[in-house]
């Protein structure tokens, strides 16, 4: 073994395509289940949450405005980037969760495949969910799904990597942008995942990753008027989940309750609105002019 001193990574937030420390200047120690200290993670504040929502909002329209094909290629690119760093992530997942190396690598491989899976959804779910409506009149009537907007994800606590990707990928595949609060005690793989996204042609702000205390930040995210949906998958405390849902109700956010299991299309649907367009289709209307 070399006696060279290892250069350790500083784990920072991922907001708006950059890697800032918390504006509060705070951090908290992160350990593996056996008590080994791993690193200090930034302890995000309410203000960091607001900054992340602002970055997500700014990125949302351009992201939704990209072609579905391009969004798919970018998600696929993220899978390519992750494949190249599978070893590193397996190690981080193993340290974070105490999983055996093989199992941790399996988790990372599943995460890569899930990104590929969602890459394939971007240019298909609108065709699966939308369509022409046979209204009883001379009208073209068409319904198409649209992204909800900015989604906040309280990521699963005990499945800190695959669980997070399974929650974030469908949201962004459907053209939303996301603010993700990583697993409180196991945030490191999620923070490193920001580095993968930053090198995948994913525009800054489409995914923003925070580390910190759900009880501290989540109420502000749930109450934030510029957030359109909130995923409470990672909120284990039923009382906190209920209060977050109540806070979200004030601005009528779409809520995914903890424990709500959905398949991939269900997850895409969760963060989707429908828009219906009517247009006259008759020659009488055409002859009348003005249309």
């Amino acid at each position: 073994m070399s006696d060279r001193l290892r250069v350790k990574k500083t784990y920072k937030l991922y907001v708006g395509g950059k890697f800032p420390r918390s504006e509060s200047g705070r951090s908290y120690p992160v350990s593996s289940p056996d008590g080994t200290e791993l690193a200090n993670a930034a302890l995000a504040s309410r203000k960091d949450g607001r900054d992340a929502v602002a970055a997500a909002r700014k990125a949302q329209r351009p992201w939704a405005g990209q072609t579905a094909y391009l969004r798919g290629q970018i998600l696929y690119r993220a899978a390519e980037m992750l494949e190249g760093r599978a070893g590193q992530f397996a190690e981080e997942v193993a340290e974070a969760t105490g999983a055996e190396p093989d199992a941790a690598l399996g988790t990372v491989e599943s995460a890569i495949d899930r990104l590929v899976h969602y890459a394939g959804w971007t240019d298909k779910y609108t065709s699966v969910l939308g369509g022409a409506n046979p209204v009883a009149g001379p009208y073209f009537n068409h319904t198409t799904p649209e992204p909800l907007g900015v989604i906040c994800v309280i990521a699963p606590q005990d499945d800190p990597f695959l669980g997070l990707i399974e929650a974030v990928a469908p949201a962004i595949a459907a053209g939303n942008t996301a603010v993700v609060l990583a697993s409180e005690t196991k945030p490191l793989p999620a923070l490193s995942f920001g580095e993968v996204l930053a090198t995948s042609d994913l525009p800054g702000g489409v995914v923003n990753v925070l580390s910190g205390r759900a009880a501290e930040i989540a109420p502000h995210l749930a109450a934030h008027a510029d957030v359109n949906g909130i995923d409470l998958s990672g909120v284990a405390d039923a009382e906190l989940a209920a209060s977050l849902e109540a806070a979200a109700a004030e601005t009528l956010k779409v809520v995914r309750r903890p424990g709500r299991q959905l398949d991939s299309l269900g997850l895409l649907r969760q963060w989707t609105e429908y828009k219906t367009v009517w247009h006259p289709a008759g020659m009488a209307a055409a002859a009348g002019g003005g249309y």
């Binding site: 579905a68 094909y69 798919g72 290629q73 696929y76 495949d113 590929v116 899976h117 890459a119 394939g120 959804w121 971007t122 240019d123 298909k124 065709s127 699966v128 073209f140 299309l265 247009h279 006259p280 289709a281 008759g282 020659m283 209307a285 055409a286 002019g289 249309y291």
Partner: protein
Amino acid sequence: MFEYAPAPESVRPQIKEHYGLFVDGEFTDAADGADFKSVNPSTEEVLFTVAEAGEADVQAAVAAARRAQETVWGPMSGAERGKYLFRIARLLQEKAREFAVAESLDNGKPIKETRDFDVPTAAQHFFYHAGWADKLAYAGLGADPRPLGVIGQVIPWNFPLLMLAWKIAPALACGNTAVLKPAETTPLTALMFAELCQEADLPPGVVNILPGAGGTGAALVASAVDKVAFTGSTAVGRAIAKSIAGSKKKLTLELGGKAANIVFDDAPIDQAVEGIVNGIFFNQGHVCCAGSRLLVQESVADEVLARLKARVETLRVGDPLDKNTDIGAINSAEQLERITALTDTGRGEGAEVWQPDCDLPDRGFWFRPTVFTGVQQSMRIAKEEIFGPVLSVLTFRTPDEAIAKANNTPYGLSAGVWTEKGSKILWAAERLRAGVVWANTFNQFDAASPFGGLKESGYGREGGRQGLEAYLDV
């Protein structure tokens, strides 16, 4: 007006002197040793020789495809199949320039089109269908749609790589294996694609490529495949449909067309002129969905024709590898002869012919962009598919007359509508008997959008959710 300086494409792909058949993952010569030459239509120079598949080769390829389907590709999970197809899509993107130049050389079409359309659209087709491989249960075709088995595919020479992508990508995504015969005059990119399958580590036998002519195609149709997919002429499509009658083979056909491009008096004229030019002169008019019949409302006919001729005067005909070239070479001497014969017929039937005064290269197969006016519906140039850069112009007075004329054809592949009134577009689209209707645009293609025709333009769709049905047992 400034002249354009030559802007020749500098990359030259690695073309081998000789290519074999691609069977069971390996290149091999034909059992009977037959081969043929592929010619560059813009110079008439021989590009390479290639093995010509006979009946024994067809049987070997179908057997390899059967083995691969039953033991490897069929049992494989959709997600893993999809990952192979994503890999192929990425390799095509990586080698896009090489494929584009090769396609131009072998086919004669302008590099501008192969670079910006054929190759990227082919890559998109693989990317799109890769994503379907593990989502077939969501396609609306039943909870557990099954593959058909081994697919025999025969494709034309007008978009060699793109037609290959339209055939192979959905077939593989749905769990089938494929034996594909590229067109006799354009096998190059299919053989390069075979090399790419090797590079992607695609399991042997999943894709088999059998160059050859009509005889090879007939042998493939007659072989033990479960389904035949054909793109080409209506005459051959009809013969294939007859030949499999009474068998259990499934069939989809994408055949000829004689599309009407309707310009109403309230159309945006400049845009419409661009659309007319794109509709008929894209790819030298070697397009089954080409807007080969211009139907223009009488009140704007003079204005549209004047602007159209002025625009066609500016088209640059010549070296396909020049990045400024708009119209390349006609694909073969046979096709040139057919275009010439039908054009002569048009003159003989009394239509007025107009061509720009442009120079043509001395060698190779070339045809000037041609516009016929005063065309009547009874003329052969109004009824038959010319498959060349020849536009027949007819006029109409009322919208109903436009629809009646547009539908007065045994074909039904595509149509165009030009008007700034949305309600008129939708009114016309509802009445046009065509599988694809373009409004205020023409010749748009996307992997996510189904393409295919009605009536004698064939049946089945390629692309989109609807296109999957052609490759699933549902």
